[in-house]
C-alpha cells in the first residue's frame, strides 16, 4: 500500500519543479495615421523574478542595406551578433549613451561583430556609418515576455506565467503606452493598445 503514496509524493515534488501555468497574451496595436503597424515591441513590464540572458547569441543581419530585423527586443545581458551579409562593407555603431556609444568598426561579408546589451530599459539605435539610411533598434528588456507586431499590428506573447502584469508598447516614433492585463490559469489574455 505504500507504493501509491510514494507516487503521489513524487508527483507533487515534480509539479513544484515545473514552470507555473503559462498562457499567452494576444492583441493588436493601433496607431492613427501610421503607414505600418509593424515593428512595435509589446512587452511585460517588470515580471517578478530574475531572467538570465540566453547563452546563445542572437543575430541582427545587415542585408540588402538594411538591418534585419529592424527592431529586436532582447533580455538584458543578451549578446547580439551583427552579421554582414552584403557584398559591401558595413559598420555598426550607436550614438546612445546607454550603450556607451559603442562602435564595432567595419567588417566584410560573412563576418560578425558582437555586442552585449547590458542596460535594461533603453532602446538604443544602431546605425551604419557607411550607409546613413540604415537604422535598427535593440530594445533591452527585463524579461523574455515580449513580441514584435506584424504589419497588421498583431502580436502574441507566449509562455507568460499566471499573474497580473503591466503591458507596455514601444515604437521609435510614438509615445509608449501601457495597460493592465491578467493572465489566468485558463490561459490566454487579450490586450489591445493604441499608440499616440
Amino acid at each position: 500500500m505504500k507504493r501509491p503514496w510514494t507516487l503521489l509524493i513524487v508527483a507533487v515534488l515534480s509539479a513544484g519543479a515545473l514552470p507555473a501555468a503559462a498562457g499567452t497574451i494576444k492583441g493588436k496595436i493601433a496607431i492613427a495615421r501610421a503607414r505600418t503597424l509593424a515593428d512595435v515591441v509589446v512587452y511585460v513590464d517588470k515580471a517578478p523574478g530574475q531572467f538570465a540572458a540566453p547563452k546563445q547569441h542572437v543575430v541582427m543581419n545587415q542585408k540588402d542595406l538594411a538591418f534585419q530585423p529592424h527592431v529586436m527586443p532582447v533580455v538584458v545581458g543578451t549578446t547580439v551578433d551583427f552579421l554582414n551579409s552584403d557584398q559591401v562593407l558595413h559598420n555598426v555603431f550607436s550614438p546612445d549613451k546607454c550603450v556607451s556609444k559603442f562602435n564595432l568598426g567595419t567588417w566584410p561579408k560573412g563576418e560578425v561583430r558582437s555586442y552585449t546589451f547590458a542596460t535594461v530599459g533603453c532602446a538604443p539605435v544602431v546605425l551604419c556609418n557607411v550607409h546613413p539610411e540604415m537604422e535598427g533598434f535593440v530594445v533591452i528588456l527585463q524579461n523574455p515576455f515580449f513580441a514584435v507586431t506584424d504589419k497588421s499590428g498583431l502580436f502574441v506573447i507566449h509562455d507568460v506565467p499566471e499573474g497580473k502584469y503591466t503591458i507596455k508598447a514601444w515604437n521609435r516614433k510614438f509615445l509608449a503606452v501601457s495597460q493592465e492585463v491578467t493572465v489566468s490559469k485558463e490561459g490566454d489574455a487579450t490586450c489591445n493598445l493604441t499608440l499616440k
Partner: protein, 426 residues
C-alpha cells in the same frame, strides 16, 4: 566648343568669374537617380557631392552598379524588355534588357553670391546669381551590361545662357573592360571634380588657341579597373580618341591615355575582402593613388587661331588618411602653333582637405601656373582657402576666397574674389 555645348556671349562680371564658371556646365557627379534607385543616402557614394568617396568610385567602376551584383540592392523592380530565357534564343531574338520602372531623372540647381575686390567704381563688386546653374540629368543601367549617363544643363552667365547636354553610353562588359561612346572627359585631376566651384588651374590651363583639359569631347573611350592584391587598392586605365578642339581646319583627333594605381584602401572595384577595420566612415579611405596621363593631337584652325600641335602629360597624386586628403597634380603642355615658336606651359596644384565634421570640410589649395616656361616671368600663383558645409546630404554651401599671390597678385589684383555657392540636388 565641342561636346554638344555652345557658349554664348560672356559679359562682365561673368567674364571676371569665367575661371570659376568654366566647367560648371559639365557632367554631373551627383546623381539622385541612383539614390532613389537604391534608396540610399548621397553619402553612400559621395564624400561631399560631387566628390566621390571610395565606394562611389567602385560603384562607377562597376558600370554604375553595386560591386558583386546589385540585384539585391536595387529597391525598384525594373521593367523587363525581354525574358532572361531569350538569351537562349539569340541571335534569333533581341538580347533581353530592362528599364528603370521610374523615370531616371533628377535635378540639380545652384545659386551663388560673387564678391570681387579691387574693382573700378563703375563695376558692381557684389553680385547675386540665382540660379547660376540648373541641370536635369538622367542616368541608369540598361540591362546587365549597358549604362547611360547624361544631362541637360543651363548656366546663367549674366544676361546670356550657356547650354550643355553631354551624355555617354557605356558597354560594361566587365570591370576590367568597358567601352564608352559619347562625351569623354580627359581631365586627370584626382577626385574628378573639385569640392568647390573654382576649377583646378590644371584643368583650365588653355593653349594659345584655347585647348583645355576641362570639359568633355565627343569620342570613344576604352577603360577598366581592377582590385590590387588582397582586394585593396588597384588599377584603372582609360584610353581613347576624341574629336579634339579648336576649328575643324587641319584638326587631328586627340588621343589620350591615363593610368592610375591605388595602394591600400577600398578596392577600385569594391568588395569586402581584407577591409576589416576598427573605425570607418564614408569619407575615409586610407590610401595613396598615383597616376599618369598623356595626350596628343592637333587643335584645328579657325578665324581666330591657327592650327596647333599639342602634347600634354600630367602626373597626379591623391592621398587619403583618416579625415584628411592631400592631392596634387602637375600638368605640362607643349604647344606648336603653325608658324610660331614652340611654347611649353607648366601648371601644378596642391590641395588639402580636412573633415572637421562629416558635414563641415575645410580646404586650402595652392596653384601655380606658368603659361610660358621660357618667358622669364614668374608663374602665376594663387591661394584658395575654402569651407564646404553639407547643410543636408543633398544641400551644400561652399564659401571660397581666391587670392592671387606673388608678382601675379599685383598684375591680377582684380581677380581677388569671394564666392558663396548654394548647391542642391533632388
Amino acid at each position: 566648343m565641342e561636346a554638344g555645348r555652345k557658349r554664348y556671349r560672356l559679359y562682365f562680371p561673368a567674364l571676371l568669374l569665367a575661371p570659376l564658371l568654366m566647367g560648371v556646365v559639365d557632367f554631373a557627379r551627383a546623381v539622385p537617380v541612383f539614390s532613389r534607385k537604391y534608396q540610399t543616402s548621397c553619402s553612400t557614394c559621395h564624400y561631399a557631392f560631387p566628390q566621390l568617396n571610395a565606394f562611389g568610385k567602385a560603384f562607377r567602376n562597376n558600370g554604375y552598379r553595386y560591386p558583386g551584383g546589385d540585384e539585391n540592392f536595387r529597391k525598384d523592380e525594373p521593367v523587363s524588355l525581354g525574358s532572361e530565357a531569350y538569351k537562349k534564343v539569340f541571335p534569333n531574338a533581341i538580347w533581353p534588357s530592362d528599364l528603370p520602372i521610374s523615370a531616371p531623372f533628377a535635378v540639380q540647381a545652384m545659386g551663388e553670391y560673387d564678391q570681387s575686390f579691387h574693382q573700378p567704381d563703375s563695376v558692381t563688386a557684389g553680385n547675386f546669381v540665382f540660379p547660376s546653374v540648373v541641370k536635369v540629368f538622367y542616368a541608369g543601367t540598361l540591362g546587365e551590361s549597358f549604362s547611360l549617363f547624361g544631362e541637360i544643363a543651363l548656366e546663367n552667365t549674366g544676361d546670356a545662357v550657356d547650354t550643355g547636354f553631354p551624355f555617354r553610353l557605356e558597354w560594361n562588359r566587365r570591370p576590367a573592360f568597358n567601352v564608352a561612346a559619347g562625351s569623354i572627359a580627359l581631365d586627370p585631376t584626382p577626385n574628378d571634380r573639385s569640392l568647390i566651384p573654382t576649377l583646378f588651374n590644371v584643368s583650365g590651363l588653355a593653349s594659345r588657341n584655347g585647348w583645355v583639359l576641362d570639359g568633355e569631347q565627343p569620342g570613344l573611350e576604352l577603360w577598366g579597373a581592377g582590385n590590387g592584391p588582397g582586394g585593396k587598392g588597384g588599377w584603372k586605365y582609360m584610353t581613347g580618341v576624341v574629336n579634339g578642339q579648336g576649328g575643324v581646319v587641319g584638326r587631328k583627333q586627340d588621343v589620350f591615355a591615363r593610368l592610375t594605381y591605388k595602394i591600400n584602401g577600398l578596392g577600385e572595384i569594391g568588395g569586402t575582402e581584407g577591409q576589416a577595420s576598427k573605425s570607418s566612415a564614408f569619407y575615409k579611405d586610407n590610401s595613396l593613388t598615383l597616376g599618369g596621363f598623356v595626350s596628343t593631337g592637333r587643335a584645328g584652325a579657325d578665324l581666330f587661331a591657327d592650327r596647333e600641335d599639342l602634347t600634354t602629360w600630367a602626373g597626379t597624386m591623391d592621398g587619403w588618411y583618416e579625415r584628411a586628403i592631400l592631392n596634387a597634380a602637375v600638368f605640362s603642355m607643349d604647344s606648336k602653333p603653325n608658324g610660331l615658336p614652340e611654347q611649353k606651359s607648366l601648371a601644378w596644384y596642391a590641395q588639402g582637405q580636412y573633415v572637421v565634421y562629416p558635414w563641415l570640410i575645410g580646404l586650402a589649395r595652392f596653384e601655380s601656373t606658368d603659361l610660358d616656361t621660357k618667358d622669364g616671368l614668374d608663374p602665376q600663383t594663387t591661394l584658395i582657402p575654402a569651407v564646404a558645409g553639407m547643410l543636408r546630404a543633398n544641400i551644400k554651401l561652399t564659401v571660397e576666397y581666391k587670392r592671387p599671390m606673388n608678382d601675379y597678385a599685383a598684375r591680377k589684383a582684380d581677380e581677388e574674389c569671394m564666392v558663396a555657392k548654394l548647391d542642391f540636388a533632388l
